[in-house]
Subunit: 355 residues, 2 copies
Amino acid sequence: MRGSEGNEFIEKWYVMNLQQLGEFGFIDRIKTNSIFRPQGVIKGIDDDCAVFEIGDAEHYGLLTIDALVEGVHFIRDLISPADLGYKSLAVNLSDIAAMGGQPLDAYVSLAIPSSLSVEYLDEFYAGLYDLADRHNVNVLGGDTTRSKGDFFVAIAVFGQVKKSNVCYRHGAKPGDLIFVTGTLGDSAGGLEVLLNTLNLQEPYRSQLVAAHVRPKAFAAEGPFLAACGGVTSMIDVSDGIGSDIFHICRQSHVGAKIRQQNIPLSEALLHLGQKYARDTLDLALNGGEDYRLLFTVTPERNKAIEESYRDRFGESLFLIGEISDSGKVILVSDDGQEKILQQGGWDHFSRKSTS
Amino acid sequence: MRGSEGNEFIEKWYVMNLQQLGEFGFIDRIKTNSIFRPQGVIKGIDDDCAVFEIGDAEHYGLLTIDALVEGVHFIRDLISPADLGYKSLAVNLSDIAAMGGQPLDAYVSLAIPSSLSVEYLDEFYAGLYDLADRHNVNVLGGDTTRSKGDFFVAIAVFGQVKKSNVCYRHGAKPGDLIFVTGTLGDSAGGLEVLLNTLNLQEPYRSQLVAAHVRPKAFAAEGPFLAACGGVTSMIDVSDGIGSDIFHICRQSHVGAKIRQQNIPLSEALLHLGQKYARDTLDLALNGGEDYRLLFTVTPERNKAIEESYRDRFGESLFLIGEISDSGKVILVSDDGQEKILQQGGWDHFSRKSTS
């Protein structure tokens, strides 16, 4: 029973308190004692999805939930309703893909301010259904209600994964090679373009904006990689690899060495960096919302996986470094200097980028 | 790309537009073409949960998502954080129960304004975990983010139901008897007490407030009833029976006759009605948030079900009417007069109570 409005001292203290704890500190706090029926639980809070028995001998169930909040994740004037619908589902499909799973059904909870028209919502659903259709994902349920202020979108996606293929954040071993499925920093670059109405030349402008508003969900690529054999850990890049590699390292009890020269940057991002003096390395490490898959592979399997991925999808994988036993994440700069990275990326509470 | 702020004419038009369509009109609109992979789907948008195959010969999977939004579903100063956590889960367990299912795992998505302290959130989770513990429901995942304005809670619950026991809104037949599992209107009465700080005597005040802030989830009762044999349809009373009975009637292509004298009203609600001149019938029909189970039973099975329910739970079921073939919902008043009811209850967009 605490209405902190009207008591500035208390409010400031509280704000600091939650910001100091940070998103990951908060998650650590709530995951304690959250299991009341352990049987059937394979993995709870701490990975891209929960993993659990569903009474099927071959498959585990997967479930993830992710919200996009107006003013925090999007600004309504800077993203079309169709793109917002698309992106709201994409971020969840990305979580299923990162476990090596197949998305099956989505559930959409909306809190809708009165300023949104039926037409806006029709377009929102058109964008969402566009992506759902591509990946054979049903929208099987939801909840719609009013909001007095911002537009809130929370989507839960249920999926399944072959038991033998499930990929976690843990499992990486020293010597494993670290890959990503695409260029990094484009989404953050696109946000820069939108927020500052940067007059970048085409097709660069459109490429960066598209990476931000219609991120590719690697929904087919995730299960393909997981089925290749040799993938030892996987996560989707939602906060930036400068944050997400730490999840793999902590949960696998390993370190990592990332080679700056191997971090894939698009021509569009490089162009943005040159023209508007943006730090492309920082965008790539800490910008977030790229939704690439970041994964580790045993050295015996990496060549075979690179080849079969190229055969199947016509795209290259990017080898950005290797797992070490140091317990630290080290960035090797272009001139060979080594720097210990601190966890950066996007923290939803503290808004810090600590790199 | 529509920012309606700053254009009052357009904003007003949009508001009307969505309000006129109403929540159920909107749901009808989005459920069209929402299935892109029909195999395995038993029931999509249109019931308390989605029902789907999970690769288990004996069980279907169930999934529901429900949000509580500050300023719409709750006022932060009028509900303790622990009660809010409890209620946020209870409304979802109620949906699983209404299908005859067992809840298994919950997923909690929070958008947290900076005015909320860590202590507030700890209490919120304590209330949520209190209920989760009672029903052996795990909290297996979630998503936490900032909100610039209101506190937003969306919870998804995964459950399962024996295939032979699943209860839908459809399935009621003329002649079936209509039951509810508890008194009606108490939650709306409790909200009246809180909003207007009514000085009702104890224990009435506490009883009504508790019905509003800690609604009982009939999580054990739902599957018990479904397993009895003879239950032909079921729904949970979230919007008020004056709305929810229409869902059963429409989906079962039947009508209903409700006897006013049989609508169970608590002593506390009657006391509120007398002391503060509240229309208890309206609260019972259209107040909403009672989260009782409303279900229909074949005439052959009703006595057996009433008895075994009383044996198992020590509580009575309330027979409030019967299903007819009229296609209409008729309220029989205490003096025997019949009145055709229009769908009332709580509509999240239009805020109308049309009875």
